[in-house]
């Protein structure tokens, strides 16, 4: 009886603590996998794994803990499945298609992009720029800009030193700038 009640409490605590971060988890999963179905599966795997290790969770930041598990689950699945998503190359289709649309428009990062492009085109362009980044850089950029995490949190989640987080961020930003300038500026 006691064990059963404990278990029920555990489920309830787990849900109260972790389910509020479902969107954050899904967002990262979606950016890592770049696919709705894979993202959903990855989130579910991460939650079940988090539940399994929930007894060991002593931290205060449930979101960072969950994202760490999710990221590890992602790389485990990559290793196991030799996922086609593991590529860090450009998607020619995507970029060829995009370039046509942007050739005539001008994108100037220094000015308000809304003036140069419709918001919709800007969104597509930015999303494509992010998806074009190699996994290593996309990950830190997404965690920083979209998940709004600190350097320290990113270092914990990705299990890399703080200095590496910073240098990857800098590299990633440089690549983003280049991509946006090249694809929207028309040279």
């Amino acid at each position: 009886m006691g064990i059963r009640l404990d278990e029920q409490d555990k489920t309830r605590n787990f849900e109260a603590l972790l389910l509020p971060h479902l969107d954050a988890a899904y967002n990262l999963a979606r950016w890592l996998t770049r696919n709705d179905q894979n993202a959903e599966d990855l989130v579910q795997v991460a939650y079940l794994r988090a539940f399994k290790f929930f007894d060991g969770f002593r931290g205060t930041d449930a979101r960072a803990w969950l994202l760490t598990i999710l990221r590890n689950a992602y790389f485990t699945s990559l290793r196991d499945n030799r996922h086609e998503d593991a590529d860090v190359s450009f998607d020619d289709d995507l970029h060829g298609q995009g370039r046509e649309a942007w050739d005539t428009s001008s994108y100037d990062i220094g000015n308000s992009p809304e003036n140069a492009l419709a918001a919709h085109d800007t969104r597509r362009l930015v999303n494509q720029a992010l998806e074009s980044l190699p996994q290593t850089f996309r990950e830190v950029i997404v965690l920083k800009e979209i998940s709004d995490l600190s350097y320290k949190e990113i270092a914990e989640i990705t299990d890399i030193p703080l200095g590496t987080v910073m240098s990857r961020l800098a590299r990633g930003r440089k690549m983003l700038t280049d991509y946006l300038t090249k694809n929207a500026g028309g040279g």
Partner: protein, 264 residues
């Protein structure tokens, strides 16, 4: 300001990102912004990176989990039901559900019966419509064919326990065609037939208790216009396929005559 406090451009470049990401401590941030004000090159580099960040933050898609994903995850988590163990002999949870469900069902059935049951007024309207429709069938319009109100009125008096007001409105475009006995609201009633151009109009009359006058109520049913009111202790139903305005005009003519006849 002391020389040691100032940043050179190399140092500044390495701090741009940390400054933008809010990772500098406050004294470093103050020193950095002082340098930006003084150095156009660093200032331009800073603006470019800040704009990139704004662009990404604003336009990159913030994906939200679909609603069913939460349910899927919750369904996959272990969910023991310790309450069921406390009363091993009777599955109280199920009994409670069952009783609650049965009560809800009973209520739902009663409620839908109640809602679907036609009100008395609805049923009477249906009867009036049916009677009118029947009267339109061949040779069923009138029992007494007379355009003379002085023929129709006594004819009713012989057969009913009340005497309806019978007026010919031929002058006004509503000639009286005849009278008929009908059965409505579980009693014999007087039916008078009028014609208006190509339309036929049935007027049903019977005594109503209590003797309260009620204003005319117009409805339409199955393509017919109906007007119902009570006046001087009599209940009136007018029905026709003519338009509601003409029917109401007839009602006013009739009401005027009823008032007149009651004063005599």
């Amino acid at each position: 300001m002391l020389v040691e406090d100032k940043l050179d451009c190399n140092e500044s470049q390495s701090l741009i990102a940390a400054y933008i990401d809010g990772e500098l401590d406050s004294s470093s941030a103050i020193r950095y912004s002082a340098h930006l004000e003084a150095c156009p090159a660093c200032s331009a580099a800073y603006r470019q990176m800040r704009d990139l960040q704004a662009t990404v933050k604003t336009h990159a898609t913030q994906y939200a989990a679909p609603a069913y994903l939460r349910e899927r995850i919750q369904a996959a988590l272990p969910r023991p039901a310790p309450r069921a163990r406390k009363f091993p002999k009777l599955p109280w949870t199920w009994i409670n559900f069952g009783v609650t469900g049965a009560c809800s069902l009973a209520f739902a059935v009663m409620f839908s019966v109640y809602v679907q049951a036609p009100s008395l007024q609805d049923r009477l309207e249906d009867e009036v419509v049916a009677s009118h429709a029947r009267s339109m069938m061949v040779n069923h319009l009138s029992d007494v064919i007379s355009t003379d109100q002085h023929t129709v009125k006594p004819w009713f008096s012989d057969k009913l326990d009340f005497s309806p007001t019978v007026v010919d409105f031929a002058q006004q475009g509503f000639p009286l065609i005849g009278g008929r006995l009908d059965y409505l609201d579980q009693r014999p009633v007087a039916a008078m037939i009028y014609r208006h151009r190509l339309h036929t109009l049935n007027l049903f009359v019977w005594p109503e208790t209590p003797h309260n006058d009620t204003p005319p109520v117009s409805t339409s049913k199955q393509g017919y216009q109906l007007i119902h009111w009570t006046q001087s202790g009599m209940c009136y139903w007018l029905i026709s396929d003519m338009n509601g305005q003409d029917l109401m005009e007839f009602k006013h003519l009739l009401s005027g005559e009823i008032d007149k006849s009651n004063k005599h």
